[in-house]
Subunit: 153 residues, 2 copies
DNA sequence: CAAGAATAGTTGCGAACACAATTAAGATTT
DNA sequence: AAATCTTAATTGTGTTCGCAACTATTCTTG
C-alpha cells in the first residue's frame, strides 16, 4: 500500500501516461492551428457558444478555463482584436463584464469544430476502441473524484 | 467510424479526461513545491540522476524534456543558480555542454523523490486500482503508438 | 445608513518558454 | 585542405500567464 517506490507495472502506466500527454496535446494544437486558433482560443469559443446568450461573465469563464483573472483578461484582449469576442457591460451589476461571442466568432467556431472533433477522434477515440472508451470514463472518473475529495478534506 | 460528432459516451470519456488533467497536474506541482521545486525542475533532476555519470548533453536533455534548446538553457540557468546542476564542457566535442548533477542537486532529488512518488501513488495509482493500472498501460500505449505512426506517415 | 468586507475586472511586473538569429565547432564533399 | 553542410548552444525578442496591487462596485453588518 504505502510502498516507497512504484512497481514495474505502475511505472509503466505512469511513464506511458506522462510521456503521451505532451504529444497528444501537440497533436491537437497542430490540428487546430490551420484555423488560426490555439486550443486555448478554441476552448473559449466552445464555452461561449454553449452559454445562454453566447455570453459569460469573465469570472465564470476564468473559472471554467482554470485561468487566472488576469490571464483571461489578456486572452480575451487577443480574441477581441481578432473580432471573435466582444466585451459587453452588465446592466444589473456594473462590476461585471460579459465576454460575448460575435457573429464572426460563431462562424470561426463552426468552421473549426468539425476539424477538432475529427482530431479528437483520430488521436484519442479511435486508438482506445469502444472498450477503451468505457474504461477511460471509469479510470479518469475515479482520479477526478479522488482529487475532489482531497480538495474538500 | 468517421462520424461528425462524438457519442455521449465518447463525450464523457473525452471531457472527463481533459477536465482532470489540469487538476492532476496542479496536485503534483503543489506536492513538490514544498521542496522548492517545480515539476519541471524535478524532471531534470530525475533524468540527470538516471544518466551515466549523472550528466547529459543539453540537446539530449532538451529532447527528453520536449523543451526547445533555448527553453532548456534558461531552465538550467535557474538550476545552476540554485546549485543543483553545473555546466561541464565536453572535451571530445567542444560544441557540447553537459548538464551535470551536483552533490546538492543529488541530495535535493533524493529528498524530494519519496514525496513525489507518494504524490503519484495518492493521486494516480491508488484511484486506478490494480486493474486500472493494467488498463492504463494498454490505453495510453495505444494512444502513444498511434501518435508515433501518424508522425512517421 | 455608514463602515468594512467581499467581489469583478484591469494593470504592472516578472517567470517560463518558443522562434529566429548568431556563434562556434564538427562532419562531409570534392 | 577549403568550402560547405550540419549540429550544439546561447542570446534577443515576443507571447502567455500568474501574482500582487489597484479601482470600482456591491454586499453585509453594526
Amino acid at each position: 500500500m504505502g510502498r516507497l517506490w512504484l512497481t514495474p507495472r505502475e511505472q509503466t502506466a505512469w511513464r506511458t501516461f506522462i510521456n503521451t500527454l505532451p504529444e497528444l496535446n501537440a497533436a491537437f494544437e497542430a490540428d487546430i492551428a490551420p484555423h488560426g486558433l490555439t486550443m486555448g482560443d478554441y476552448e473559449v469559443l466552445v464555452l461561449l457558444s454553449e452559454a445562454a446568450g453566447t455570453r459569460l461573465r469573465m469570472c465564470d469563464l476564468a473559472a471554467a478555463l482554470r485561468l487566472s483573472p488576469s490571464g483571461l483578461t489578456r486572452r480575451l484582449d487577443g480574441m477581441v482584436r481578432n473580432g471573435w469576442v466582444s466585451r459587453v457591460a452588465c446592466s444589473g451589476d456594473r462590476r461585471v463584464m460579459y465576454a460575448m461571442l460575435t457573429t464572426q466568432g460563431s462562424k470561426k467556431m463552426e468552421s473549426a469544430a468539425p476539424d477538432h472533433v475529427a482530431s479528437v477522434r483520430r488521436h484519442f477515440i479511435q486508438p482506445l476502441g469502444s472498450d477503451g472508451i468505457n474504461q477511460m470514463c471509469d479510470l479518469f472518473g475515479a482520479v477526478k473524484s479522488h482529487l475532489e475529495e482531497s480538495r474538500s478534506a
